[in-house]
Amino acid sequence: MRSLVFILMIPFFCTVTSFAAGQDQASAPAEKPDQPRFRLGAYFEGWMLNDKNLKSFFHHSQRNLWGFEASVHTLYNIDVWATYRIYTDETKTTHYGNTDKFRIDATSVGLIYRPVVWSALEPFIGAGVEIYSYSEKLEGDTDIPDTSGNAIGFHAQAGTYINITKFLAGKLFVRINGVKKTLDKALPDGTTKLDLGGKEFGIGLVARF
């Protein structure tokens, strides 16, 4: 499923980028002439899921992880932006103690608007969609089957770039996700609601060119 998500994202990203490039030419006089078109970055973040059952079962309210992002400038200081990160957690099954690994492959696609540049700071806000692929796998002999599924939601984010050089910027951000799913089969605690939304906050480095 993760492969499928990427395959779907590529034409979407290319289409938006091509459209943006054309628009950029048309609207170029309204923009800063030396603005870089592409940004590639990596960040380190804390991710706090909303789902109380998940946090209780895996005994973690927050996981720290690496993420990667890319964006392309379109027009009016608006970028098309995407990121990919992997949320993982691990615990033991309640009685037999088999290792239980949980994972979310999270892809976000959206738009970012950078209204102003204040000295080295370049704040932004943004919004977009969340595309998650989750799985739970158990190791060893067990009667419990593995599980996988997908969920889609939205996000809103805010932060700032900190321009260090012409080609390099730091980044601070906060992102809020809303990703809920109704499960076909209830969890052992009886609920069918799965809330994979949450809050992310992080710091990163972005290359601009």
């Binding site: 109380k52 079962f57 009685h95």
Partner: protein, 503 residues
Amino acid sequence: MKRFMFMALLLAAALSLQAQEMKVEIRKMTEGFTGNQRFPAVAENVKGERIYTFRGNDLYSHYYYYKNGTWSGGGRIPGSPRYGNYWFSDIVADSTGTFHYVCEDASKALYYGFFKDGTWASMRKIDIRHEATLALGVRSDDTVVLVSAMVAVGGGITKDVIVGTKPAGKTIFSNFQNITGDRNANTMVDAAIDADDNTWISYKMEFPGDGKDILDTILHGVNKSGKDIYWKNVSDQTGWTWYSRVAINSDGKIMVTWMRSQHRAYFSCLFDPLTKKWTEFQEISDGPLRPWCTMYNKLLARESDFYWVGLTGDRMVVLYKYDAEHNSWIKLADVSDRAAYWCSAHMGSDSILITWDNQAEPTSCYLTTVSGIFPPPLPKVQSVSNLVVVKRIERSFFHGYSLNILSWEDNPLNAEQGITIAAHRVYRKERTADSSQWALISALAADVYSLEDKSIASDIDYVYAVTCVDSNGDESPIVDPSEEPSETTRLPGSRWSSVRSDR
């Protein structure tokens, strides 16, 4: 008192008329007591322990405890009320060796207490409108059955026979059912449990107000659900019959005895539930006619035989054995050395235990042990000890299931009796299901002492029993767990309960 207790008078009298090896031992149990001690009863459990109870001169219940060949302990039973009119009592022992004791404060209330491993549980009042007489029985699952005569609603001379039960592990009798529910006065109850756990009850039925002045002996069978399976007027004689007794032998045949006032004699009749046929009335003859109120007697069964203990006309306690071939009774022994007021009896493992108190005041209580009548029984295999059930949940985040983890230990009684265990069998039922719902879920080797039961529904409360099968293929009885459900804890994020979570 203890000094006198341990120096108790031991009278051995070769009073037997028949068996060469029969031995009659009379023991004065209340040596040192002053005043009138009354209404003794006795029972023996599978461990060979005995409890002897009586109403003391202080009008409380007292007891002595017999273990490893020695009478000891004794004293007032905890929680015993001070009786206004103590008369009837009964003691039975279940398959675990627990004694169950019920006694009456006639026309007022019944009281129940149990004795296990040398300790009494404080006696409690049983919440029924008790009139007089009672009897106990034990089903194969250790449910104790109480049969009693109750003051009927509305009072007067109308009385009814009621049956209540106390499942194994519970401490109160409940589920009382009025099995007569008529306008007749039904009292003088006795009860016996057959191999199918049906309860056979004998009682005196009085027909009030019709001018005939008839009291007859009834045999009334009810199944575990309290549904009638049999009813018959057994005596069907003119005049009054009193103090019926009932017992069931290993062939399933049912003996009923009663006293008939006009003949001043005891009669018996044997019923075969398979053929539904009764034998002719048979008098339990003992020479002189009995004066009124020597009516106390007790009927016992062992293997295919029946034994009867009662009072003669001169109030001596005698022991009879039924001769099935000739439908007659044969006197085995005189078992008292003086005139008695009261008598009762219990079938021990290798002897008949007969309790009585003497007629002349101040009265004392005695125990006569009649041994050598039959060989000691072969030891019976017992179920496992210390069965523990722990409910657990095995789950990932998305999936899970409940499982019950059972563990148990060897019952030391089996080793003590030289019994070799060949296998264990695990049974399961829903807690609220009756004992007919036990289902075999696993047969395990004798050296396996645990089981994980995964084939359960998470929202059902199960109970388990683990039996032992000996090298002869005999299986111990299924015993309901004596423990209440263990403490329940809640796992985070789970509606499933985990019992005794010990991870």
